[in-house]
């Protein structure tokens, strides 16, 4: 029996050594996995998009849309901006991305407010929350010029 045990201990490495090898193996496998994952994760992260233009001129299509349906949604860089005339014919430009879940809002000219159809969020013409779940007001953009002429929408806060 004792000779059998001695033979066994000669043939099999001590438990601590086995554990060390397994631990090192798992550790190095983890490190190797990291070297594989690092480039993959870097590859998957999209490159940062530039904010694009700081201002834009309201085009004829947008002006027609404001005349026909009461509002127009235009791009400014990578953002969406809703432009509309309030009941007093004053031009407003607000971020069209609802602060609740990011839906695109619309202007209800009959009620004179900005409405998000996704969860019934309501904002006044200056972007302040009136009711519904949106946690923050819509960001307002600066408008200059008249709807009959050249209108410039700029990132500068109104």
């Amino acid at each position: 029996m004792s000779s059998h045990l001695a033979e066994q201990s000669e043939r099999t490495p001590p438990r601590t050594r086995r554990r060390l090898v397994t631990g090192l193996l798992l550790g190095s496998l983890g490190a190797w996995l990291a070297t594989v994952l690092y480039p993959v994760l870097r590859y998957l992260s999209p490159l940062e998009q530039s904010g694009g233009a700081n201002e834009t001129v309201l085009g004829d299509n947008a002006k027609h849309a404001i005349a026909d349906v009461g509002f127009a949604i235009i791009p400014l860089g990578i953002e969406r901006v809703i432009v509309f005339l309030d009941p007093r014919e004053k031009l407003h430009a607000l971020s069209a991305k609802c602060t609740h879940e990011g839906c695109t809002v619309q202007y209800k000219s009959d009620q004179g407010l900005v409405w998000c159809a996704c969860h019934n969020g309501k904002f006044d013409v200056d972007g302040r929350v009136i009711s519904g779940p949106p946690p923050r007001p819509l960001m307002a953009y600066k408008t200059s010029g008249s709807i009959d002429g050249k209108v410039v929408i700029s990132r500068e806060t109104a």
């Binding site: 043939r11 099999t12 490495p13 438990r15 086995r18 554990r19 090898v21 397994t22 090192l24 193996l25 190095s28 496998l29 490190a31 190797w32 070297t35 594989v36 480039p39 993959v40 870097r42 590859y43 998957l44 992260s45 490159l47």
Partner: protein, 1011 residues
């Protein structure tokens, strides 16, 4: 505490294991895996891992393919651009694409190694035939992956390779054309082809491959891996031994996979665009343009090269088939034999290794190797975009080198087989080597050498297999195959119909209707040779009948009664309309008849050295006046229908002896009757000017001829010619831009002719070196060497009908016609006033006149070649020279910086970085340099510095990008080193672990053996 943690950890592991085991029966699975055995033979175990390695590469393909899909946008305007974006912009995008490409090639390589190892070990033998068949189809799918993926970058190489690759499909009898259209999604390779290939590559082929891999693995699982046969011929098979599949074999597999991944990462990082050998390079290059011609040396991927080369070896027609059809047939037969190997190899089915089949496998390798070596153009240096096989000399070198390599390889393999493995059968393997030698060194064509070897193969097969009945049947069948193609009537390929025997034009009269009088002229002979050439006769045969009848009438009337005259008309090869115009004009008919005219009045086809070259009939028929209906009588008087010389002809022009001496009548004759009469000219071309005479009177030529009576002065015919006047827009016209210098130079470059002609001052003789100077000038070189019709010629500066030397005041204005910017800048410069005060001819002062050289930077500054220094020292302030030096130094500096930046790009590109955008940016520095040089004409420091600044900014930005790329490259190297070290560590530890397990100590929990 530590021991407690370890115990707790083990407790969690046991709990998780039990939880999973209870639900999924993992213990049973593990027990199954532990008891599964992998056969172990005397041969290397490595052959058992090749399938796994192929599967591993396929997994890498799926993973890297999914990553590429996240950026790749198929489309004409997006495929190439999106991949370019991946490679140049996306972090590690270059690595992902490089891994995808490298892994594809390594997958095919390991697949081939797997297939050949299965072949040589006879692992396909009963009962594993279906595993071989599914493997063969998987091989086909892998080739399909390669072929369809090749097109997706939509670059030049992939476009043409796909065009050639798909085109070979049309050789399939019956459905070839249809299949070609289906593959391409139309007649030609277009973006529709890409969509189809894209769908195949990312959807159809993966689904088919997954399914088939499943079936392939199921078969292997069910039947187990094939145990080894006897190592040496005649020996008994070794006793069955085994290795546990789990964990012993699995861990070995894992070790190999990790090593394979590391090799892949190393290759992908160090050679991101491939090793650069034909069929193994994937630099994006230029975007595909279907309207660009293919460049020579385009080749498919390396695993298709043998087929590509085989196609090249076939003549246009063979055995009644088109060459590609015959080639496809032979390739299909070869592939069919390879597919059916498990059925054909009867010995293996009985558990014996057939020496003939082993030799057959080796022979196939030689056969493929020779074709591949030949298509790789071995023995001649590779030059991108050049096909060395196109020249007979280099083609011979390639064939000889390839056959020598095959022979060398075959000798080495044979020695190995004979002495290391005890093989004794080499007959079949010798045949492809013999074919290579016959082709390479005995001057036989590839196919002829192949035919000889095929006959020998039949003999060898009959001798080998006739010992058994099935073998005899197979040999008889093969013999039949050899005999049949010779006996069967060749199926004629579609060939164009021979041209119609009728050479007559559609509306021509048959020869039988030609009158005898005409035929007599046509057939007339002189010195035993026909006067009218066969070409002239053919031209007559093709004339419409009404034109032919006009010839007959002219012969009948007797005015056309000379064979030479007839030959002259017919050999002109002019349109029917012109033939009619000439034959209705008695002046032409009479003055082309040598029977009526002396050499001084005879019109015939004449050479340029003929003293009467103005009587060239060929020139007459191209004359713009004749083509508008104004024939001889238009100038000479009379009517085309006159039978004899009209009196008007003698009255219209001055007497012969007067008109030859006093040429002043010519401009008056041309203009008074026609060219100065708007009403008359409107009938022909309302756009033509009618003020030529007004201008000519004021010109130096006009004054000399009309006022001073200098008869040498140029007039209308001096420049426009006499009987062959062409439109000025005709490239043959003497007043076409490229001919004007020569036309003016006929007089102005002839010292004898110009003797006595003085400059405006009345004293200085007129120089005659203008033409020589102009030829060497920047304008002359542009005109004569670059064929730039926009380059100014004599009349652009001197005028044409109002030719005169440009005065000092007008020189700068004339130059401004083209050099607008420089002129405007000069107008605002301080030099303008200074030059005016000295009466200097602005541009000419620095640039010269007829010998204007290409401006060089040395002209600015105060160094050698400077045009500033002399004037500045005499008339300027010290600051003037400093400014000139500043201009010179800044331009030199910008050029140097541009050159250095380009050198840096070269260095960076040699490491495999793609800096095409930076190169483009540095090309824009050329524009900035041009702008900067232009700004010198303003002689304004601020303006100049602003323009130069743009160039410096461009260089700085380009250098910054190059620098960033180089830093990124250093990061790559460090990253690669780190990952390689980690993988080496993993591999070492795994190796230690495998050893531990092999010794029975791998289980951490109880130390029991794995099996």
């Amino acid at each position: 505490m530590g021991a407690q943690d370890a115990t707790a950890g083990r407790g969690v592991r046991t709990a998780v294991w039990s939880w999973l085991d209870e639900r999924f029966g993992l213990a049973d699975l593990l027990a199954f895996a532990r008891h599964k055995q992998v056969p172990v033979g005397a041969h290397s175990m490595v052959w058992y891992f090749l399938g796994g390695v192929t599967l591993f590469f396929f997994t890498v393909q799926i993973a890297s393919g999914i990553l590429l899909l996240m950026y790749y946008e198929p489309g004409e305007a997006t495929s190439y651009e999106s991949l370019r974006y991946v490679v140049t912009q996306v972090p590690f995008g270059w690595l992902v694409r490089s891994i995808h490409c490298w892994s594809a090639h390594l997958m095919i390589l390991s697949l081939l190694a797997h297939m050949w190892s299965v072949f040589f070990l006879r692992a396909y033998r009963k009962p594993r035939e279906l595993t071989w068949f599914t493997g063969f189809v998987l091989f086909g799918l892998a080739l399909g992956f390669g072929f369809s993926g090749y097109l997706l970058p939509w670059n030049e190489l992939s476009f043409f390779a796909t065009a050639v690759g798909t085109d070979s499909v049309k050789a399939i009898p019956g459905i070839g054309q249809w299949l070609l259209r289906v593959m391409r999604g139309g007649e030609e390779v277009s973006i529709r082809t890409l969509y189809r290939f894209y769908a195949l590559h990312v959807c159809v082929l993966p689904i088919a491959t997954f399914t088939l891999i499943g079936v392939h693995l199921l078969f292997i699982q069910k039947q187990g891996m094939a145990p080894p046969l006897a190592e040496k011929e005649g020996e008994a098979p070794p006793p069955a031994r085994g290795m546990p599949f789990f964990p012993n074999f699995v861990l070995r597999d894992l070790l190999l996979w990790i090593l394979a991944l590391n090799v892949l990462a190393l290759l992908a990082a160090l050679l991101p665009y491939g090793p650069g050998i034909p069929g193994m390079e994937w630099a994006l290059g230029h975007k595909a343009d279907p309207l660009m011609p293919a460049y020579p040396g385009i080749k498919p991927e390396w695993y298709f090269l043998w087929m590509y080369q085989l196609l090249k070896e076939f003549p246009p027609h063979l055995l009644g088939m088109e060459g590609p059809q015959a080639c496809l047939l032979i390739a299909s037969v070869l592939m069919g034999i390879w597919f059916l190997v498990p059925i054909l190899d009867r010995s293996a089915a009985r558990g014996r290794s057939s020496a003939a089949f082993t030799d057959f496998g080796v022979g196939v390798l030689y056969f493929l190797a020779f074709l591949m070596l030949k298509s790789w153009d071995v023995g001649v240096p590779a030059v991108h975009g050049v096909d060395p096989g196109a020249a007979p000399e280099t083609a011979r070198t390639i064939v000889r080198t390839a056959s020598a390599w095959v022979l060398g390889g075959a000798v080495a393999v044979t020695l190995l087989r004979r002495f290391a493995w005890g093989h004794r059968y080499f007959w079949i393997g010798a045949l492809p080597v013999l074919q290579a030698l016959l082709h390479g060194w005995a001057g036989m064509s590839y196919l002829a050498a192949g035919a000889v070897c095929f006959v020998l193969l039949v003999v060898v097969l009959i001798a080998t297999w006739s010992r058994s009945l099935p073998g005899a049947a197979v040999a008889a069948a093969i013999s039949l195959c050899v005999v049949l193609p010779g006996a069967s009537p060749p199926a004629r390929a579609q060939e164009p119909l021979p041209p119609s025997a009728s050479a007559e034009g559609a509306g021509s009269l048959p020869e039988s209707d030609w009158p005898d009088s005409f035929r007599e002229l046509l057939d007339a002979q002189e010195g035993g040779k026909a006067v009218v050439s066969e070409r002239g006769r053919q031209h007559f045969r093709e004339l419409p009948d009404h034109a032919q009848k006009m010839f007959f009438r002219a012969v009948d009337s007797g005015i056309l009664d000379s064979p030479e005259q007839l030959a002259g008309f017919l050999e002109l090869e002019i349109s029917d309309e012109l033939v009619e115009l000439l034959l209705t004009d008695n002046c032409v008919l009479c003055h082309t008849n040598p029977n009526y005219q002396s050499e001084e009045t005879l019109f015939k086809v004449r050479g340029p050295d003929d003293p009467n070259r103005h009587l060239d009939l060929r020139a007459v028929v191209s004359d713009v006046h004749l083509r508008r209906g104004l024939s001889c009588s238009g100038c000479h008087g009379g009517k085309p229908t006159d039978d004899s010389m009209s009196d008007e002809i003698y009255e219209r022009w001055p007497e012969r002896d007067v008109r030859k001496v006093d040429r002043s009548w010519i401009p008056r004759f041309c203009t008074e009757r026609c060219h100065s009469d708007p009403g008359f000219m409107r009938r022909f071309n309302p756009e033509l000017p009618v003020d030529q005479m007004l201008k000519y009177r004021e010109s130096r030529h006009g004054v000399a001829l009309l006022t001073k009576g200098h008869n040498k002065a140029a007039q209308c015919v001096s420049c426009h010619g006499v009987h062959g006047i062409l439109r000025p827009t005709s490239p043959q016209s003497p007043v076409f831009p490229t001919n004007i210098p020569q036309t003016c130079g006929r007089c102005h470059a002839d010292p004898a002719y110009m003797r006595g002609v003085k400059m405006d001052d009345g004293r200085t003789p007129m120089p005659t070196n203008q033409l020589a100077q102009y030829r060497e000038s920047v304008h002359g070189r542009a005109l004569f060497e670059k064929n730039d019709l926009g380059a100014p010629v004599c009349n652009d500066c001197h005028g044409n009908h109002a030719a005169m030397p440009p005065a000092v005041a007008s020189i700068s204005q004339i130059c401004r016609n083209c050099h607008v910017t420089q002129g405007t800048l000069f107008d605002g410069s301080p030099h303008k006033k200074a030059f005016e005060s000295h009466g200097w001819p602005e541009c000419e002062v620095c640039h010269g006149k007829h010998d204007i050289a290409k401006p060089s930077d040395a002209m600015v500054g105060t160094g050698p070649g400077s045009v500033c220094r002399d004037c500045h020292e005499r008339y300027g302030k010290p600051v003037c020279n400093e400014t000139a030096d500043h201009f010179h130094d800044e331009i030199e500096k910008l050029q140097t910086q541009q050159r250095e930046a380009l050198d840096e790009v070269d260095v960076a590109e040699r490491t495999g970085l793609d800096l095409a955008d930076v190169r483009f940016q540095l090309k824009a520095v050329d524009d900035a340099l041009t702008d900067t040089r232009s700004k010198i004409h303003a002689f304004n420091l601020a303006e100049f510095d602003k323009a130069a600044g743009k160039g410096f900014d461009l260089v700085a930005s380009a250098r910054k990008t190059t620098d960033q790329s180089l830093r990124e490259y250093s990061f790559r190297k460090v990253g690669l080193l780190v990952s390689t070290l980690i993988v080496t560590l993993v591999a070492l530890l795994l190796y230690v672990k495998i050893r531990q397990i092999d010794r029975g100590g791998g289980d951490d929990r109880d130390g029991s053996r794995g099996t």
